[in-house]
Symmetry: C2
Subunit: 127 residues, 2 copies
DNA sequence: TTCTATGGTATCTTTTTGGATACTATGTTT
DNA sequence: AAACATAGTATCCAAAAAGATACCATAGAA
């Protein structure tokens, strides 16, 4: 039938200033509290964190579990469905890593490549 | 060593309102003139088309060949290097296609999923 | 009684991205 | 002589995304 390019659909899930790194941590830990995510990502505002998590929730990538207690407790976890994304994320990460190298070869090392996650030990296998 | 997530690096190449579709057409045809891209993508402005192509050129994804003649002729083509992205694009496209289906199951068909490329015959293999 | 912790929301401002429009250069065609 | 074709630039404006800041509810601790 008609060939339709759904690259953009995949991008929907990933685009957003904080989504990749949120996913990275959630895939790593499986489940995290809202406050835990905040501490892990000190520069994100609550507004953005909430917004990005809600979008991920809409896409069935993360699950939001509310504990009815005070003070509130809300846990975000990677869904089973989301695990189907891992090959995609892995392909992107692998290619991205090689591409950083390629750019360095083309333009030299001094083009500020910021490693946005570093030293998260033992979490390399997923991404 | 330190595990660094380069998903964002891959996203750099893809993010931009028109980049996926530009890539789609360039991967399909291999080489296209500026005006040919304009005709294929009637809603893009010259400014945006130029900007996106220049970013792709910076990343060594497309090559810009200028013919010194009047009126000007400029051809944009996919680089050999860019072909290394195809597995990534393919993974994204495959996952994206399945995800549209998943969203339909979750929320029903009526959530305006716009097929942004349709009926480009015989071009399915690359993406 | 006041403060703390938690997971938000509401509002406003700034930054980034994208779009509209006009302009340019110049050899060829009419 | 004027119009056309091509591949842009330049300038200005609108819209979208992100950030800053303040506010809320409430049980329990100090």
């Amino acid at each position: 039938m008609a060939s339709e390019c759904k690259v953009e659909t995949a991008l929907e899930i990933l685009v957003g200033k904080w989504k990749p790194i949120i996913l990275f941590h959630l895939f790593s830990k499986g489940t995290m509290r809202f406050s835990e995510l905040q501490k892990t990502l000190p520069d994100i505002t609550k507004k953005m964190l909430t917004a990005q998590l809600r979008e991920l929730e809409y896409h069935d990538i993360v699950h939001r579990k509310v504990y009815l207690q005070v003070p509130p407790k809300v846990e975000y976890s990677i869904t089973e469905y989301a695990k189907g994304m891992l090959p995609v994320l892995d392909a992107m990460n692998t290619w991205g890593t090689a591409h950083v190298q390629h750019l360095n070869e083309l333009y030299g090392e001094n083009r500020e490549v910021e490693p946005f996650v570093s030293n998260v030990d033992g979490l390399a296998e997923g991404m």
